[in-house]
């Protein structure tokens, strides 16, 4: 018995460094994406695109005739605190539907609890741009941010997100396809089990994700007031600014 105890302890001690080596490879920072920043009307605004949320397969599915949903979540953080609480949060949700008879896309977008904006897009590119571009997207009231601070914006975009409950169910169904013949008492956990080999497709909480962090920044100076509109000879108004 003494021999087996010594063996056990030796293996335990030997395994420690192996695990430590594995953990050391785990950390990976989010990619940085240059993000437009502005202060307007007391609001911190960002402008950045998430068009890469759509790959070739996702663009193809866009014409399925059924809706495609996009959820973009934005968090403002103090850049000097490595993993602090978000200072502000904002959300944009969009939905795209392709009309198979009219061959055009309908897009609707809401920012937080704001009003719903609808548009018609003749091409997939325009529909994706309308649904995924954050253009002068308000994320925080500047009066609530300490002056002189440095910040970063964390952005996460999800394509067709699914609820947490549904995600759990799908994972369980795929891992335990033989649920009809489960036997209790066999220990439905992987403690002590060595292996279970099967085609195990990756199931995420959305079909595709894009995550990035903005460049660190200090609060930009407020945008100057808009210049007076040029007066045309005919007296007609100028064109609308892009939304």
């Amino acid at each position: 018995m003494t021999r087996s105890r010594a063996l056990l302890i030796a293996v335990l001690v030997a395994a420690g460094p192996a695990l430590l080596g594995a953990t050391a490879r785990a950390d990976s920072p989010l990619p940085q994406r240059t993000t437009g920043l502005a202060v307007k009307g007391g609001q911190l605004l960002i402008s950045v695109g998430l068009q890469d949320l759509f790959g070739p397969a996702e663009r193809q599915h866009l014409t399925s005739g059924f809706s495609t949903r996009i959820l973009i979540r934005v968090a403002l953080q103090d850049a000097t605190v490595e993993e602090g609480e978000p200072l502000a949060l904002a959300v944009q949700r969009a939905e795209i539907v392709y009309d198979i008879w009219d061959e055009r896309f309908s897009v609707r977008v809401t920012r937080g609890l704001g009003a719903e904006l609808r548009a018609i897009a003749p091409t997939a590119e325009e529909a994706i741009w309308r649904a995924t571009a954050l253009w002068q997207f308000p994320i925080a009231d500047t009066s609530r941010l300490p002056p002189g601070g440095r910040y970063v914006v964390l952005v996460r975009g999800d394509l067709n997100p699914i609820s947490e409950d549904l995600l759990k169910d799908v994972r369980r169904w795929l891992v335990q396809p033989a649920r009809g013949q489960r036997r209790l008492g066999a220990g439905d956990s992987f403690f002590g089990s060595f292996v279970s080999i099967f085609v195990n497709p990756r199931i995420e909480d959305s079909e595709r994700q894009v995550r990035f962090v903005s460049q660190p920044f200090a609060l930009p100076a407020p945008l100057p007031p808009a210049p007076p509109l040029p007066v045309t000879r005919s007296g007609a108004g100028a064109g609308k600014a892009r939304p």
Binding site: T23, A26, E85, V91, F198, V199, R202
Partner: protein, 493 residues
């Protein structure tokens, strides 16, 4: 190394390893910071006031593509279960479309499922196209390659085909074979299992029927000499027991994450019992010659774990009650109750704390293979393969108690605490990996031997430490556990 110091050293090693793991993996979780409030904010803010968006269609026809193996009728039935049938109206943003997609994924036969529409005969009419990408449905449930002082080699596997003939039938089987153990009177072991289960009738929440056939021809080992902690096979004699029979069961999943089962079991037994070479009486825990086991088992399971492989929250509780009686043709009358629980709690930085509990008791006279075996409870010992034991190794006795005396018992309990640290997430071939450490206490007993003569205090209690340390990997080709307990239990001398 003095034996009494070993438990302390083991505990110290475990604690130090856990501390180092925690420190080194502090930044392992690549989720953006505190997300709970982000999720809540998102959930509150993202819903459109008007769920309906886009045109409304009328389904002219349902077309299935990509199903080279799976019967079309199985796929169409899942869509029909939610009303997506010929003549039905469906909105472009209808939530039933996504629900059908996940119902089909839930069958376990497909890697991906896509629903789309194409123009029908007239404006407004559409062909609903269900395109599936079939997955491999062969599952290797377990591998049994091991060796011990008593049995030079035993090996085998357990495999299932979850979509047999494309009809959703789950057909599985397992086998294990061994060399002849070096125990007096022992025979080479052979275990066979054949299982079949039909898909739940009426969809995922219908009744599921399953049948299992079993055949075992193996030996069990009984000590006739030597100290309790001496695993030398020369100290043991062996029986030869043949088992043939099967289980017929019916089960049902509920939306509330509850699963209920009822199983009927019948087995014919034939035991050849040896004569003890010493005056030491041996309880073989089985009747000599022919006998039968017949039982009814009712079981319930409640599972809310966030993930079946790498859980971070939720729980799994399972209760089973098996009654064997002459009323169902059994030569053995007993009632066996087991309760299992696993509770997970999320910790900072994506870590998880788990508590695993097991309690079981048998009232009556159960055959040895239905009693609680020390190797099934202690992670550091060889488990039985398809119900056959191939080792004479006693419990490790890390607390220097009376545990070494115990092999098959009528009462058992185990409590484990597990701490898991994420190592990988979303990295190509390996989706996720956790380093885990588990430490716990187990105890077994039978009536009359709680306090052996001449013993008192801790030494008299049939308890032991158990634990494990290793990596659990969730990969594209399945789940792998690389751990100390796995290594020790498969090369146990």
């Amino acid at each position: 190394m003095a034996a009494p110091r070993a438990p302390a050293i083991l505990l110290l090693s475990v604690i130090v390893s856990a501390g180092l793991l925690r420190a080194s993996a502090a930044r392992a979780d690549e989720e953006p910071p505190p997300r709970e409030d982000v999720e809540e904010a998102a959930a509150a803010a993202v819903a459109f006031p008007d769920q309906r968006f886009g045109p409304r269609y009328v389904i002219d026809e349902v077309l299935v593509k990509g199903n080279s193996k799976t019967e079309r009728s199985i796929i169409v039935a899942e869509a029909a279960a939610l009303g997506l049938v010929q003549g039905a109206a469906v909105d472009a943003s209808d939530p039933r479309v996504e629900a059908v997609r996940y119902r089909l994924l839930a069958l376990g036969y497909f890697l991906d499922v896509r629903l789309s529409v194409t123009r029908g005969a007239s404006r407004g009419g559409v062909v609903l196209v269900v395109e599936v990408e079939e997955r491999g449905t062969l599952v290797i449930n377990e591998l049994f390659p091991s060796t011990s002082a008593a049995t030079a080699f035993w090996g085998g596997t357990d495999i299932s085909e979850t979509n047999f003939l494309g009809r959703g039938i789950n057909l599985g089987g397992g086998f294990v074979g061994s060399t002849t153990p070096v125990v007096a009177g022992a025979h080479a072991g052979l275990g066979l299992r054949l299982r079949a289960a039909v898909p739940p009738i009426g969809g995922p929440y219908g009744l599921s029927l399953a049948v299992t056939g079993l055949y075992n021809d193996g030996s069990e080992f009984y000590r006739v000499s030597g100290a309790d902690d001496d695993p030398d096979p020369k100290n043991f004699i062996a029986t030869r027991v043949k088992r043939a029979g099967g289980i017929v069961g019916v089960g049902k999943d509920f939306r509330s994450r509850v699963h209920l089962r009822l199983d009927f079991r019948e087995e014919a037994l034939k035991a050849q019992l040896p004569t003890s070479p010493s005056m030491m009486p041996v309880d073989f825990m089985i009747k000599d010659g022919s006998s039968r086991v017949g039982s009814v088992t009712a079981s319930a399971e409640f599972d809310t774990r966030s993930d079946p492989i790498l859980p971070r929250s939720g729980m799994r509780v399972a209760l089973a009650l098996e009654a064997a009686s002459g009323l169902v043709g059994s030569s053995y009358d007993y009632v066996k109750t087991t309760i299992e629980g696993a509770f997970y709690r999320p910790m900072p930085r994506g870590h998880a704390l788990g508590f695993h509990l097991f309690v079981g008791g048998i009232a009556g006279d159960a055959p040895y293979f239905d009693r609680f075996f020390i190797g099934d409870l202690n992670l550091l010992l060889p488990r039985r393969a398809l119900g056959i034991n191939f080792s004479t190794l006693p419990s490790r006795n890390l607390l220097d108690t009376s545990i070494a005396h115990h092999r098959y018992d009528q009462y058992a309990a185990r409590a484990l605490v597990e701490y898991a640290i994420p190592i990988w997430r979303r990295r190509g071939f390996i989706y996720g990996g956790d380093a885990f450490i588990g430490v716990g206490l187990l105890g077994v007993a039978s009536p009359g031997d709680f306090i052996p003569p001449g013993e008192s205090g801790l030494r008299s209690l049939p308890i032991d430490l158990t634990g494990d340390l290793g990596l659990r990997l969730d990969t594209y080709v399945g789940i792998f556990t690389i751990s100390i307990a796995n290594a020790l239990s498969r090369t146990s001398f």
